[in-house]
């Protein structure tokens, strides 16, 4: 392909420019992909070299180290304790001790069964019991042996623990080696007092970060990895892990979800499509209408502005789930709206607001506008007030009409400032459980998609409400729900990365500053 110079490009008309850009985009794809693979390869090479360097360091440090360093390989913190660095030494020692105790009592067994997720769930024991003298009864008790859920969870925790110990052990080796160097140089070693002082002074950031990092690992990273692993098991209502063990099944669940020609993949495609349509409408309708309302209220000559704002903000004052449930009842087939219209003779049969698929889709978008506009109105009001008046004045002098002013000044400014918000709003609408579930529960049910997990998805079902239905239906299917969760993540992360990279807020950071 021949690339145009800047001058040649400027000579093109609007459509030629668009065509040229598209051509460039598609031509660049192979190169871009190859580049990514190349970078990935380089990453692996770097990783290999780093591992090699680590291995060499560990071996040479052991060979050349003093007996204290050598013993520190086995008894963590030995060198520190020898040098009276009590705090460091005890911490290392405790870490090792805790690890050994945990592995002996629990972790070892859990890790050993991690590959199979358990062998026997329960064992029945029949025995004779006498609670009334002379009356001997046969009783069947049950003893639980393995628990797949616990094995998966604690197995994962054990792997984390092993990794944490490996990192700590490496630090311990480094510390021992440094102490050898200090011994050789004759300099004094830092005491525990110095360590405490340092942790409260120049290392204070580390002290502060300990708890948050621990919290993130335990309550964010660990559950996410756990849920991802569930997608590779057969965890469902027939394999609860406690009374019936579950097992690894590899990529079987992904294959079921994504292979063509079965009901589940058809449902997934349809639901994904509607989820995207819903998110686009829910995000942009609120955005533009909210901005429009804010501009109307801010317009010079509009009286009692605060009253208009208050009226709109009232919808925020009422908890959203109450207003949504209320709306759901109000527009039901036998609700007040239909009842009133029938009684007044305006309609002769009830309008199926929620029971007709197309109408239900329109309704959820409209109701979402009603609950969403006030937020956008508040956000955009502040930003609109910050746009310098002189921009509009010069535009007027240049003869720009109201639409041109909006398209060339207001909108670019708004998109620049609210770009990241727009993106997060789009992603949160993909996962907007409340509005859909409280209004329609995902209905009206669509039997053509069959049932997944005992749940029959409906015309307004989005991925997140489908996931909820699948896990709470009478054939709860956690493994498929986990696959859906992963796919939602891929969609959200992919879109976020693409949009973020082309967003003016990130590409032209200095334009409006």
């Amino acid at each position: 392909m021949v690339y145009l110079s800047a001058l040649d490009y400027l000579k093109l008309n609007k459509w030629q420019k668009l065509l040229y850009k598209l051509k460039c985009f598609f031509v660049a794809i192979p190169g871009w992909t190859a580049n990514k693979f190349k970078k990935l390869g380089q990453l692996f090479v770097k990783l290999g070299l780093a591992i090699k360097a680590e291995a060499i360091y560990i071996v040479t440090t052991f060979i050349h180290g003093s007996f204290k360093t050598k013993l520190s390989y086995l008894f963590m913190g030995f060198s520190n304790l020898w040098h009276k660095q009590w705090l460091r030494g005890i911490m290392f020692f405790l870490m090792e001790g805790l690890f050994i105790v945990y592995m002996v009592l629990y972790g070892g067994a859990m890790l050993a069964k991690f590959g199979s997720l358990g062998d026997i769930a329960t064992k029945e024991i029949t025995s004779l019991v006498e609670i009334i003298p002379g009356e001997i009864e046969e009783v069947t008790t049950v003893v639980h042996i393995d628990n797949s859920f616990k094995i998966l969870l604690y197995g994962l925790i054990t792997i984390f623990f092993i990794l944490a110990l490996a990192v700590t052990w490496r630090i311990n080796v480094k510390q021992a080696q440094l102490l050898d160097e200090i011994d050789a140089s004759g300099k004094p070693v830092k005491s525990s007092k110095d360590d405490v002082k340092s942790l409260l002074d120049n290392q204070f950031h580390k002290t502060l970060l300990v708890l948050p990092i621990f919290g993130i690992v335990m309550f964010t990273i660990l559950p996410i990895i756990f849920m991802v692993l569930v997608a590779f098991t057969n965890f469902d209502y027939q394999h609860d892990g406690y009374n019936r063990l579950f097992d690894w099944v590899g990529l079987e669940n992904f294959s079921k979800m994504l292979s063509f020609g079965n009901g589940m993949s058809a449902a997934f495609g349809e639901i994904l499509g509607w989820t995207m349509i819903w998110s686009i409408f829910a995000t942009f309708s609120n955005y533009f209408l909210g901005m429009f309302v804010a501009m109307m209220i801010n317009k010079k000559g509009i009286k009692i502005k605060s009253v208009w704002r208050t009226i709109l903000v009232l919808t925020i004052a009422i908890p959203q789930f109450i207003s949504l449930l209320y709306i759901s009842n109000l527009f039901s087939d036998t609700g007040i709206v239909n009842g009133t219209l029938l009684n007044l003779g305006i309609i002769d049969k009830a309008i199926p607001f929620w029971s007709n698929g197309t109408l239900a889709k329109v309704m959820v978008i409209v109701v979402n506008i009603w609950v969403g506009i006030p937020y956008l109105m508040l956000i955009t009001t502040g930003i609109l007030m910050n746009i310098p008046d002189d921009l509009y004045e010069s535009a007027k002098i240049d003869g720009a009409n109201a639409f041109q002013q909006f398209a060339r000044i207001t909108l670019p400014y708004m998109l620049f400032v609210t770009g990241p918000y727009l993106l997060t709003s789009f992603v949160s609408n993909i996962n907007n459980f409340n509005v859909i579930y409280l209004l329609t529960q995902g209905g009206p049910a669509n039997p053509t998609w069959g049932n997944v997990g005992g749940y029959i998805a409906g015309d307004t079902t989005i991925l997140i409400t489908w996931l909820f239905g699948i896990t709470t239906g009478n054939e709860a299917n956690y493994k498929i729900a986990s696959v859906i969760g992963i796919l939602i993540f891929i969609v959200c992360a992919g879109l976020s990365l693409i949009v973020f990279s082309i967003m003016p807020s990130t590409r032209r950071e200095n334009d409006y500053s």
Binding site: L105, T122, T334, G450, E475
Partner: protein
């Protein structure tokens, strides 16, 4: 320094040993000492609005039979509806209640998932001697008994507004539809969304049957289902008559009597009696399910008759398990069932309770017992959802004046049968 390290290592080893020894203790059961009252902390799940009664009944047991047996239960009674109990126990099996009440349609699942304990011979004798045969039979899976019958009224019938419908009009669905359409009112019959339980009444009405064979461990091994037949198509046509009408409301809630577009008839069960009575007062009528006419033949919709059971969570302590069975015998015995009949209007399965004046004079209980019904067997979760898919397809195919011919209805039933055969064959 070395001394210090050796002390430290010694302390760590000692601590590890202590923890290890403590872990070796296990979960062994202990025999109650003669003379001592054995005390157990237990959790009980009772249905909506019955927790206080259940608490009092457990305390009554403690002060009477418990004293004789030298056992006392400190019961924490929580409200979990019978329809949800098995599902909740399945979600959190470890923290499930020691005693829980559940609906008979969830029984096979409870057994399959090991959520209920096998009963001892004395409990089996108690169940057989004190309950109607159908309830006693329903409380076993294969030849093994797992649950104590509590009620024999888990069925549905017609509540109607006497001001809007005459007694003579509730006998036929076609007449009811005509009256409702004239009044721009609704008939609530949950035949679509989550309505398999109610929709089956049309199939049993035309003579269809669906019976599943379950083994001792709750696994479905075989089925005899002729819903995919000419009678099945007739049942669908009967349903379609109501579904295609403007008066159809896919619901079974007594609250529908007070909607903005009110229902003049609601198909529901005993649990909705209080609500219906509160809304309609003396205008409330109770009747068996209506007849419907298809291809010139008249059939009566025939509901399920199910039971409520009390089950015991599998225990590792054999003494506790036996004492819990004694408690369950009391809670499902004559005294407690009669009290539930008097206070809650629940129809008893206990032979003596059924002979009381309260039982004989109970309008709802009589409607259930004096009219045709099908004793509810065990069905896999897949059956309920596949049947629901077929019923929803009829609902969708008949909305907005559309209609489905016999071939289309037959195809829906073929798909239903095919999906179930696939399920059964694994």
């Amino acid at each position: 320094m070395r001394k210090f390290i050796s002390v430290l290592l010694g302390a760590a080893l000692a601590a590890g040993s202590c923890v290890g020894l403590a872990a070796c203790d296990g979960n062994s059961a202990t025999n109650p000492q003669n003379g001592d009252v054995k005390k157990y902390d237990i959790t009980v799940w009772a249905g909506d609005g019955t927790t206080t009664m259940m608490q009092n009944q457990v305390e009554k047991f403690n002060s009477t039979i418990g004293k004789e047996l030298k056992v006392s239960f400190n019961a924490k009674v929580e409200q979990v509806s019978e329809g949800k109990a098995v599902g909740d126990a399945e979600s959190h099996p470890e923290s499930a209640a020691d005693l829980f009440c559940f609906a008979s349609d969830t029984f096979a699942r409870a057994v399959e998932m090991n959520l209920v304990a096998k009963l001892s011979p004395s409990s089996v004798t108690f169940i057989d001697e004190n309950n109607i045969k159908s309830a006693a039979d329903a409380s076993k899976m294969g030849d093994t008994y797992y649950a104590f019958p509590m009620t024999a009224d888990n069925s549905y019938f017609l509540y109607y507004n006497k001001d809007k419908l005459k007694d003579t009009e509730v006998t036929d669905l076609e007449t009811m539809i005509e009256v409702a359409e004239k009044q721009s009112a609704k008939i609530s019959y949950n035949l679509g969304s989550e309505g398999s339980w109610y929709a089956a009444s049309f199939f049993y009405g035309t003579g269809c049957k669906s019976e599943w064979v379950v083994n001792d461990s709750g696994k479905f091994t075989d089925m005899e289902d002729d819903f995919n037949s000419a009678n099945g198509i007739k049942a669908f046509k009967g349903m379609a008559k109501l579904m295609s009408s403007e008066c159809f409301n896919d619901s079974s809630k007594a609250q529908d009597f007070s909607s903005a577009i009110p229902s003049i008839a609601v198909v529901s069960g005993v649990w909705d009696y209080k609500t219906a009575k509160t809304i309609l007062g003396d205008k409330l009528g109770v009747a068996p399910l209506p007849h419907f006419t298809v291809d010139g033949a008249r059939y009566q919709a025939t509901p399920y008759l199910g039971y409520k059971f009390m089950g015991i969570k599998p225990q590792s302590d054999k003494y506790k398990l036996l004492y819990l069975q004694r408690l369950a015998q009391y809670l499902t015995g004559e005294e407690c069932q009669t009290q539930r009949l008097k206070d809650l209007g629940w129809g008893p399965s206990n032979l003596k309770s059924r002979e009381t004046d309260e039982a004989k004079e109970n309008e709802i209980f009589n409607v259930i017992n004096d009219n045709p019904n099908v004793v509810q067997g065990q069905y896999p979760a897949k059956w309920w959802s596949q049947f629901e898919v077929a019923c929803l397809a009829v609902k969708k195919g008949t909305e907005n004046g559309k209609s489905l011919d016999d071939t289309a209805l037959g195809n829906l039933l073929k798909t239903y049968a095919k999906d179930l055969a696939t399920f059964l064959n694994g």
